[in-house]
Symmetry: C2
Subunit: 185 residues, 2 copies
């Protein structure tokens, strides 16, 4: 896909000139909202380094932070339901990072964007999700040699869950280079 | 823009196969949500046939229907504020159909998508807006010779206001050919 060739809404603003109606119909070109960036899914190396239990702990840690965050109401208030949701998400992370098929064997294709439609996820909710992951990766001492690969996956992946737009801006990118120093890298 | 060359999310579903992690990172291609179709803005003919007062009446009629609809809460409950909102919208329709610059002289570029970000507009809200317009066009006896031009504008235009997605489907199209019979055309 030639991203440069695709028109987005970004140029719209109240200071632009509005073309008045003329003698004939005037066609305004097709547009897209924005291009959801490519997602580099991780290799098996992450599961190899972490194993099932540490991945579960990571996902639990992240969800505990999310629950206390501004998007906390998206998660079940009931503790048993919350734990079940965490385990389901952990199953996804286990499988996607190279572990056994514990997610797809139970639930089918992750279809992450589809499964998130019932939640209202705007650009800010995605930022919170991602920043809580950054905090998690620090707090659980995620293996440094695999940080770039993991982050470079979840950062664009999180953009794909956005289903409510509140502005024209492309969701902010956080390349690993911009956060590496926070991990002493 | 070559719409065929752009990948969308439409193929995602829980029955598809999920590629397991391998020895190396696996890149999933960029995608767009959907392509907002071209919008054929009307010529001056519509204002020529309708004039300022009938366009105001049309917009008022439409808004009275919207106010009683499932999206009624998006509009001001206060009557004076509601009338002011209707007049502002009417100014847009007057100018866009070939009348004087009554909108841009007061408010700048219509920037319709931008101005609608503060409202949560999903595919269903757009359908209601459009169906209430169809009802309006019947009830005010919009001039038949200009119906195709007007409808072919507002139908794709309404898609551009969508800022909340609840599914993968491209918003439903309603080409004039599919509604013409309702107007005896």
């Amino acid at each position: 896909m030639n991203e440069e060739a695709i028109s987005t809404f970004r140029e719209c603003n109240v200071n632009a000139r509005f073309t008045p109606a003329g003698d004939e119909v005037r066609k305004v070109e097709p547009k897209v909202d924005f291009v959801y960036p490519a997602v580099p899914f991780p290799s098996k190396r992450i599961f190899g380094a972490m194993g099932e239990e540490r991945i579960q702990e990571m996902v639990y840690h992240h969800h505990a932070l999310l629950r206390k965050s501004a998007v906390g109401e998206m998660f079940p208030a009931d503790n048993a339901a919350f734990e079940a949701a965490v385990l389901k998400t952990a199953d996804f992370f286990i499988e996607a990072t190279g572990g056994p098929s514990v997610f797809t064997s139970q639930y089918g294709h992750p279809a992450l964007r589809e499964r998130h439609f019932r939640f209202l996820i705007d650009e800010r909710a995605r930022e919170i999700w991602l920043m809580m992951y950054k905090k998690t990766l620090k707090e659980i001492a995620f293996p440094k040699e695999h940080l770039r690969e993991f982050w470079s996956w979840i950062e664009p992946l999180s953009i794909r869950m956005i289903n409510r737009r509140t502005g024209f801006e492309m969701p902010k990118r956080y390349p690993f280079e911009t956060i590496a120093h926070e991990f002493g890298l």
